[in-house]
Amino acid sequence: MDFLSLQEIHHTYFTKTSATTALSDISLEIGEGEFVSFLGPSGCGKTTLLSIIAGLLEPTAGAITLEGKDVQEASKNIGYMLQQDYLFPWKTIEENILLGFKIDGSLNDSNRDYALTLLEKMGLKGVEKQYPKQLSGGMRQRVALVRTLATEPKLLMLDEPFSALDYQTKLKLEDLVSNTLKSFGKTAILVTHDIGEAIAMSDRIFLFSSSPGQIHKTFIMPDELREATPFNARNHEAYSSIFQTVWKELESLEPANKH
C-alpha cells in the first residue's frame, strides 16, 4: 500500500457571489521516503491541496489516507512548513522549537534533548535563549525546520519555504533540507513555483494547471539528479534539458494572449 494516497479530491470555495472550484479530480500516490514537488502557476490550488493533506481543510469530495488511515486522525504525523518562518516573536528559540511538544503535552527531557540536538545539527548552537528577531532570515527558517522536525512527523509539507530568502541562502538551505530529510528518510511534499528548485530537490514533479487546479503532467527525475544534492543537481548536465521540458509545459499552460 502506498504511504500517502489521494483519491479524486475536489474542492470548491463558496463566497456570496460565486463558487470557485480550486481543485478538481486530483488523484496521486506518494511512496514512503519520496520527495515530490507540486509545481504550477499561482492560483492553481497548491496551498489548498496542502491544507487538505494536512487535515486542516476538509475537501468537498474525495479521500486522503496516510498509511491507510484518514488524515484527520493521522494529523500528528504531518509536519507543515510555511512560506515564512512564523516563529512566535515573544517566545525564545528554545520555546519555539518545543512548541509541538507543548501543544500535545508530551514535553519531557528526552524530547527537549532531541530538539536541541536537531538545532545543533542545523548549525544553530547557542541561540536557544535568543528571540527570533535577533536571527537572520535564513537562521529563522532553519529554526522553523527544527520546530517542524522535532515532533518527528512522517510526512513533511513545505509550502514555498525558500521563497522569502535571498538566492544564496536559498541554495544553502535547499541542500540542508534535502540532506536532512534524506538522512531521516522522511517523505516530503514541496510546493513551489520555481522550476529549478523543483528539479533540484525532488524525485517526482507534479505539474498543476490552474482554474480549476488539476494535475497536468508528472515528471520523473532521472536517478543521477535524485542522488545529487540540490546544488550539484543544478550543475548537472541533465538539468538544463529537463528544465527546458518543464518550462515548455508550463508555458503551454498560460493563456496565449498574456504577453
Binding site: S75, K76, F88, W90, L99, I103, Y131
Partner: protein, 269 residues
Amino acid sequence: MNPQTNIEQGHRRYLQSLKREKKWVRFYQLIIFLVFFSGWEIASRLQWIDPLIFSSPSKVWELFLAKVQDGTLFVDLSYTLFETIFGFILGTVLGTLLAAILWWSPLLSKIADPYLVVLNSMPKVALGPILIVALGPSFTSIVAMGAIISIIITTIVVYTSFKEVDPNYIKVLQTFGATRFQIFKEAILPASFPVIISTLKVNVGLSWVGVIVGEFLVASKGLGYMIIYGFQVFNFTLVMLSLLVIAVCATIMYQLVELLERKLIKNGS
C-alpha cells in the same frame, strides 16, 4: 593615528551628542514648567487673571500643606485612588474577557455586534444617575462608573486585535493539533499584548473620568467631591489642588502601565 581609535573617538562623540540632546530636552521641559507656574503666580498677584477663580500656585501649596497636616487630603485621595484602580482593573479585565468570549464564538460576535456599537456610542457618564439609584450612593456605584466607561471600548479594540492576528500563526499551531484554547493561549493573547497595553493606557484616563464624575454625583468624599464642593463654596484653590493631585496620580498610574509593558512584552529588543 590608526583607524581603530578613530572609530572609538567617533563613537564617543556620538554618545556625547546624544547626551547633549537629552540635556537640552530636559532643560526646555524644566523651563516650560517654571514659566507656567511662575507665570500663573505673577498673573494672579498682579490681577491679570481673577485670583478668586484661578487661585495661584502659592495658595494651592499652602492649602496642600494644611490638608497634608490635618490628614484630610490623604483620606480623599485614598478613596479616589482605590476606586479608580479598582474600576480600571475591572473595566480592562472584563473588557478583555468579553473580547475573548466574542473571539471564541463567531456567531455570538455577529449577534452582539449592533449592541456593542450602540453601547459604545452611548455616553457612559449619562448612566451615572441610574447606577447611583440602582447600586446606592456608595463606593460600588463609583467603581461601576470607573469600569463601565472603559469596558465596551476595551472589548471592541481587543476583539479587533484578536481577529487581526496573522492566521498563519494559527495554522502553525493547528498543524501540531492545537485546541482552540491552546490557540488562544499561545498565539491570540500574546500577539495582542501590545494592543491590550495601549488600551490600558487609554483606560487609565477613562477610569479617572468615570470615578470623578461618579464622585460629583455621589458627593460625599474623594477628589471629585473636593472639586464639586470647592465649586459650590467658590473655593477654587481647592478645585485647583484636586486637579493637580489628580494629574500627578494619573501620571504615576500611566508610568506603572509602561513598566508593566516592558515586563510583559519581551521579544529581545
